[in-house]
Structures are given as structure tokens and as C-alpha cells.
Symmetry: C2
Subunit: 496 residues, 2 copies
């Protein structure tokens, strides 16, 4: 067996074991009885340990070196080796006792965070967060040495391979410069029109689900290769041949759940569109969290909150809930789906204000990892940034710096991918629209094939064969930037 074949075989095993863990995670979130929690943690830990032993095997570097000669000149196989090496470096760089400590301290801090948030008292969790931060910084330093990048970039690389702060700094500086005034302008503009008429309700869960399924199918979700279920926190799980998205329903408001379903459908279409020839190899997986989020936001924000989509969907909504009043016009439904508001809570934010939340977190977590900010200074820095970017001040820390589980569970370096995804979604949609000018009109007829076909060829089908940078540049003709996003926001929120 060649070194390359040997690696292919090892990584195929790791991929399938990782997928087994994915199904177990889905089961835990969707239908496992509470009593099964301990055994499920044991199962996931056993899989994680088995995978850790395989990926840290010290024979891998030699195999990787020899395999590079086997496949010289073959770009997909070389990219596959790069992804294998990246996985090995991430797993091997951090000593086992530090991994263990991070896991234990992260869990303890998360538990304390729940209490601190309930009591809106940051000081309760500050000492534990300081402990977690110290461990994360050690881990970041170790990975930074091994990868040859800065510590924050090493953390980001876990989610967004190749992500660089210089690039994000430039993107976010542009946004921070533009957004605060733009938000004011949009709010003033929307203030001049009537409030959207309420849609009434209640909306039975069965009817909501049936409408979601109908739209998912139109978007290209294949129910022979996936499911829609319910969980407390919606997510997209499963495997490319069996993609499982979840939602939760609110009988008094169908609009948020429905858009959540369409968002997860965007994630699902990416997974379903990955190249089957490279199934179970690292190069065959999704490129990273920024592009993954770009695909969900492409479907949700670019396609499904467009006026054209509402033109298509409004009759289906009226039919689903047997409604036909004046609140169910395209105009009124479109107003519901494009309402902008300053929110204290990131996960409730609309697409205009969302980047402000992300920029805030990016600034703070970079400073924390660099050692330029102390944990005790988080609440003050948080409130200052909220005031600067969104012109509001949290009344307490529960709706301020205690709102997200990120950080308290030891996760740093993930936040920027949300907004990179939003920028990429706008840029990709604009490029698809330029190449296929009928896309909006086809969406108004419920035909998404032009859009998803274009995306499947340029993004889904290329998987991890190139960097995020190159995939976006090849698809759109330009590096990832802010222009398309600004044009999109301006067109959607100020044109009418």
C-alpha cells in the first residue's frame, strides 16, 4: 500500500467514526431521554479518545511526507494531504493534560456562567473565566508555534482554516465605519412607514412543519437524504447522505421558525452538495465555518428574505394557515421579514445590526487572547462598544456580556465567521446574479435551481480543495470584501 493509500484508509476510518459521533449528538439533542445523558457522554468521549489517538499518531508526519511524493501534481490529493496535516497539527500541538484541563475547566465555567447569567452577576463567573482564558491562551500559543501563525489566528484556524486577522481587521474596520450611521438611516427610513400589521395566530405546529417541508423541497432538500425534526437549539447535523436539520416552533409566530428552517436548509444544501467522490476524506468536507455560514445566509438572507421570495411564498403561507386578511399581502409579509431593530441580543439581531454584535466580540476576544485586556474589564468594554456600534447600553450583564455561551465554554476565535459568512453570501449572490440575471425572477416563481446550481458548481462541489479565499475569488472574481454586502443592505433597506 502506498503512503497515500494508507493515509486515505486511516482518514476514512476517522471520518466515519466522526460521523457516528455526529449522529449521536443529533440523537441527544432531538430525542434522547434525560437518563441517557451519562452513557451518551461516555460514548462520545470514547469516540473522541479513539479519534484523538488516530489523529495524533506520530507515524503520520512521515506518512504525509512520503505521500506528497506519491501524488505530486494532483491538486485534490495534495489538498487532501494539507487538510490531514492541519488536523494532525491541531491535535498534536496541545499536550494531553492541557486538553483535559480545558475540557474540565470549560465545563465548570459553563455551569457557573448559567448561574451568573441567571443572577446577572458577572463577578460570579469572572474567576473561572480567567482560569479558562489562561488555558486557552496556553493552547493558542502551542498551536501558533506549530502552525506558524499568531495565537488568535491559531484559534480561528480551528473553524476558519487560513483565516488571518489582517484581513478581518480590514473588513471589520470598513463595516464599523459604515454601519452605525447606516443603522440610524435605516431606522429613520423604516420609521416613516406604518408598522407591519400583526399576523394573528395561533399557527398549529403541524401546519408550520408542512409549510417548512414544502419550501425545503422547493429549495432542493432531498428528504430521501435527510430529515426535519425539533430541538431546543436549531442546528444542521447528520452526514452528507443523511442531513438532519432541526427547528423549534412557536405557535404564536411562525415567521421566525420558518426562516430558521430555511437558514438550516442552506447549511444542508452545502452538505448534500459535497462531492461524493471525496466522501470520507478531509478534502471532501465543507471548507470552513465562514463558507458554511455563507450558504445558510445565502438561502435565508439573500434568497428568502427577498421580495421575490415573499411573492412566491405568500400564497403558500396563506394556504398553510387558511388566512387571507390584509396582513397577508406580499408587502406586509415582506415588512415582517425585513424589520430592522437595535437589539441587545446577538441571536435575535437582523442582518443589518448583526455585524455590530460580531465586531464587538471580535475586538474583545482578540484583546483577551493577546493579553491586552483583563477579564474584569469585559463588562465595561462590552458596554462601551455597544454604545459606539449600536448606540445602546445594556441595562445589565445578563443581556450584555453574559448573553453568549461562547468564551465561557472555552470557545474563542469562532465569532468572526458569522460576519465573514454574511459578506461572502452577499458577494456570492451578487456574482450569481451577474452571471444569471434571471435568478430573482426565477425565485419569484419558486425556482431555485439556477442559484443552487451555480453555487453547487463553484462552492459545494469544490469542498476543501482550495482555500476560502480562492473559492470566493474564483466564484466571484474578487477577494472577499464588504462592497457587495453594503450594496445589498442599501438596496434592500433604503431603496423603497
Amino acid at each position: 500500500m502506498s503512503a497515500y493509500s494508507e493515509l486515505e484508509s486511516r482518514f476514512r476510518r476517522m471520518s466515519t467514526l466522526g460521523e457516528a459521533a455526529g449522529v449521536l449528538h443529533w440523537d441527544r439533542a432531538v430525542l434522547m431521554p434525560d437518563g441517557g445523558a451519562g452513557a451518551r457522554s461516555d460514548q462520545l468521549a470514547a469516540l473522541a479518545m479513539t479519534l484523538h489517538e488516530m489523529i495524533t499518531d506520530d507515524r503520520l508526519p512521515d506518512l504525509l511526507d512520503r505521500a506528497a511524493e506519491d501524488v505530486a501534481g494532483d491538486p485534490w490529493r495534495l489538498a487532501n494531504l494539507s487538510e490531514m496535516r492541519r488536523g494532525h497539527i491541531h491535535a498534536s500541538a496541545v499536550p494531553a493534560d492541557l486538553v483535559e484541563a480545558l475540557s474540565t475547566e470549560g465545563l465548570a465555567c459553563e455551569m457557573t456562567w448559567r448561574e451568573a447569567r441567571a443572577k446577572s452577576d458577572f463577578s460570579l463567573v469572572a474567576p473561572k473565566l480567567a482560569g479558562v482564558l489562561a488555558l486557552v491562551r496556553q493552547s493558542a500559543d502551542a498551536k501558533a508555534d506549530a502552525l506558524g501563525v499568531a495565537p488568535y489566528e491559531a484559534l480561528m484556524d480551528q473553524y476558519e482554516p487560513g483565516g488571518r486577522t489582517a484581513h478581518i481587521d480590514a473588513l471589520f474596520a470598513n463595516l464599523a465605519d459604515f454601519l452605525p450611521d447606516f443603522i440610524e438611516t435605516v431606522l429613520a427610513h423604516q420609521g416613516k412607514r406604518e408598522d407591519a400589521m400583526p399576523l394573528g395566530g395561533p399557527f398549529p405546529i403541524d401546519a408550520q412543519r408542512a409549510l417548512g417541508v414544502r419550501l425545503m423541497e422547493r429549495l432542493g432538500f432531498d428528504f430521501n437524504r435527510g430529515r426535519l425534526d425539533i430541538s431546543l437549539h436549531p442546528f444542521c447535523g447528520g452526514v452528507p447522505d443523511d442531513v438532519r436539520i432541526t427547528t423549534r416552533y412557536d405557535e404564536s409566530d411562525f415567521t421566525q421558525s420558518l426562516m430558521g428552517v430555511l437558514h438550516e436548509t442552506g447549511h444542508a444544501l452545502y452538505e448534500m452538495g459535497l462531492p461524493s467522490d471525496w466522501r470520507h476524506q478531509p478534502v471532501g468536507g465543507a471548507r470552513g465555518m465562514a463558507l458554511h455560514e455563507s450558504q445558510s445566509l445565502l438561502i435565508e438572507m439573500q434568497a428568502c428574505r427577498s421580495r421575490e421570495f415573499i411573492e412566491f411564498a405568500a400564497p403558500l403561507m396563506r394556504e398553510a394557515f387558511a388566512e387571507n386578511g390584509p396582513a397577508w399581502t406580499v408587502d406586509n409579509l415582506y415588512h415582517h421579514y425585513t424589520k430592522v431593530a437595535r437589539s441587545l441580543i446577538r441571536v435575535d439581531a437582523d442582518e443589518v445590526t448583526y455585524p455590530a454584535h460580531v465586531i464587538l466580540r471580535y475586538r474583545l476576544e482578540r484583546a483577551l487572547i493577546a493579553g491586552d485586556m483583563k477579564v474584569d474589564d469585559i463588562p465595561g468594554a462590552w458596554n462601551d462598544a455597544m454604545k459606539e456600534l449600536l448606540h445602546i447600553t445594556p441595562p445589565d450583564d445578563a443581556v450584555g456580556c453574559l448573553q453568549d455561551i461562547h468564551w465561557y465554554d472555552g470557545t474563542f476565535g469562532y465569532f468572526p465567521t458569522y460576519t465573514m459568512g454574511a459578506l461572502a453570501a452577499a458577494q456570492l449572490f451578487a456574482a450569481a446574479h451577474r452571471d444569471l440575471p434571471d435568478i430573482p425572477e426565477e425565485i419569484s416563481k419558486g425556482n431555485f435551481a439556477p442559484l443552487t446550481g451555480w453555487m453547487g458548481e463553484r462552492i459545494h462541489g469544490r469542498a476543501s480543495s482550495a482555500s476560502t479565499h480562492d473559492l470566493v475569488a474564483d466564484a466571484t472574481g474578487a477577494p472577499l470584501g464588504v462592497d457587495a454586502f453594503r450594496r445589498h443592505l442599501t438596496a434592500r433597506y433604503l431603496a423603497d
Copy 2:
């Protein structure tokens, strides 16, 4: 780390990975979309290979030898080592290429069996079955050498550790001697009474499910540690902290599905009652298939087809389906649940005729493994034995020797555990009744705690710390025999 601790840690990992596979099997049977089948097979194969590598590790024998010194005088830990060694021997005895061939040929034969059964043409599958049988015999020989038992016993040992043909021969000879005439007598006896009045219907699935859940809860099934779902072939899966039983519903007849749910509940109570102190160690698992079946049959046949149970359950049945006609009396419902009939199909057989089906298969598979019978002689031998034991002759092979998937998928040595379980159920119930004379009366009030408490202490809680033989003898005061079963059948089917 002592050798024993090292083994404990390795087998804990194996157990948890095996449980992960169990959850994946459940998911496949209950809710996986068809498109996920390939990926799921890959996941299960990766887990199986990982487990195979761990259990065949050639450092295990030395560790086992050294560990025996660590824990001398500690019966549970010594039993744990025995179970570990047994697992290692089974996995190591058979060369990898034979395992591979058995898996491939078994799958191919199973596919052909489906076609042969549809066409009722045994000759279609005979060559493939002969090929599978040859491989099974090689595997049996290899395991027999390693275990120091006869080839058929080596196969049986996979399902019923320590099972011996001399013992089963004696039990089955007794049954074969007694049953054919007894069946005639019961049929004549039941022929003298009116047929049971039909129960009508349809019976909505929601109402059937609610009734099943209600009875499961009464029996002690903890829904915080388990679920009830639907699958094509009912089974009991999951893990002791999260036991998942399945059923299928027929809107025109609730009685079979309901009894199926109670049967699986018996399996579930065994799993839920295993000692948590020995969780994830081989000694902490269920003893074997005979005792597992004894627990399902204890609940189904001994407890829930008794007149006392029907007295308790009849009002709940009437309430569940809002029925109150003359067909819904205790007498009539009891007649439904104790109807005896000669059946060509094993899985449809009642408890009186079931052992005849098993004895037939045991005789044939022993002869096949011993080389005393050729595959081509199966249909004739089958029909002869049906005539001898049940006094009926299959009109064709589809309802004769092609009816079961066993054999065609490479499974030999499993059949006797069904009837060993029926015998053990009767003997255990009789012993519990002797110790706690109120058990039938408590059952008539819906109180199963005396029965399940007695069983939990003597069977569930002892797990695999002793042999099936010792567990039964300790609990009942006698080795496993036929007497209690005969007395049970006589009392139930000839007394009234």
C-alpha cells in the same frame, strides 16, 4: 496501572463504542432516511473494525493472566476476566479472511434467500447456503479448538455462553416426547368452547400507543431512561440507561402489538436492572440470549397472558378504545390471548406450539454443522419434522424451510435459546410464586413490583457474574428443566 485496571479501561472503551453502534442500529431501524444507508453501513463497519482490533490485541492474553493474580478471590472481577477472555477467544479464533468471507457470502446468500422465498424455490438459494455453511463450519471448528468444546457448542457460545448440547438434547427430548400429544389435547379442549368473539376495530394507533405506554409504566419501564418507537421488526435496543423498544401497529388488531410491547418491556426491564456498579464491564452485561428471552417471556407469557393480568388490563383496554361490548369481557379477552393453533410460521406461533418449531431447527442445524446432513436435504427433513412434531406439512418451502432469515445470513446456534428462555421463564416464575404467593393476586391489581423485585435481585442484578446454569439454579433451587414449563402449560391450557 495494574493489569486488571488496564483491562478495565480497555473494555470500558470497547463497551461504550459498542453502545454507540447500538444507538446507530436503532436509528437505522427507526428513522434513518433510505439515502443514509450507505454511510450508516460505513459507520458501523468502522466501529466494528475498531472494536475487532481492540478485542484481538495480542497483548490481552498476557494482561488477562497477570490480572487474575491482581484480583484473586474476588468473584465478580474473576468473572469479569472470564468474560473478557471469552470475547478475545471468539474474536481471535477465526482468521480475518474467513470473517470477511462469512460477512460477504452471508450478505449475498441473504439477498438470494429473499428472492428464493418470494418464488418459493429452495433450489435457488441452496448453492449459496451450501457455501455459507462450509464457511460457518470452518469458523465453528476454529472456535471449537480455541474453546475446547464441540463445533456446534462453539457457535452456540456466541449467544448462550456455556451452552452444552447434552443438556439441550435432554430438555428437547423431553419436550418432543410430550408436546405433540399435548398440542392435540389442548386443541381438542379449546375446540369444545366457543370461538373468541372478534373485538371489532379499527383501533387508532395513538390509542394503542397510549395503552402500551400505560402498561409499560405499570410494569416499571422508566421513560426517563427509555423510549417506545415504531420499526418494521420490533426489538429492544439502546443501552441500560436509555433502553429503546420498538413495535409496529396494526389498526385492525391491537392485541398482537400490545403483547409485543410487553414482550420487549421484559427485555427492557432486564437491561434497566443490570448493576450500575459494573456498567461498561463485560461482567455487568446480560448473561446471554436464553436468560434475555426468559425475561421477555416472563413478562409476556407468564405475567401478561395470565388471567390475573387480563383482569387488571381489560378495563384499561375498554377505556383506551372506548369499547364496552360483550367481546370485551375478561373471559373473551383471555381467550384471545391464550388461543392455540398449529402454525407453519414460527414467529406467529403461540407458547404451546413454539417449542416444536425450535426443536425442528435445532435438530437440523446440529446435523448441518456436524456434516450429517446436506443442504439439499433440508426441505425434506423440515417437512418430516413438521409432520412429526406439529402434525402439519408445509404446502411449499416459502412457509417451510425458507421462512426464517437465520441460516441464510450465516447465523447458526441461536435457535435453542428461544426455548431455553421459555423453560427458564416458567421455572423462574414458579419459584417467585413459591417465594411470594401473592404474586398472581398483585398482578390482578396491576402491581408487578413483587415479581420484578424478586427477578431484579436474583437475575438482573447478578448480570454475568455466574453462568446461566448457576443463576437459574440459585434463583429456583434446581437446574434448568422442563417440569415448570409443563406444569404451566397444563394449568393454563387444560385447567378450565
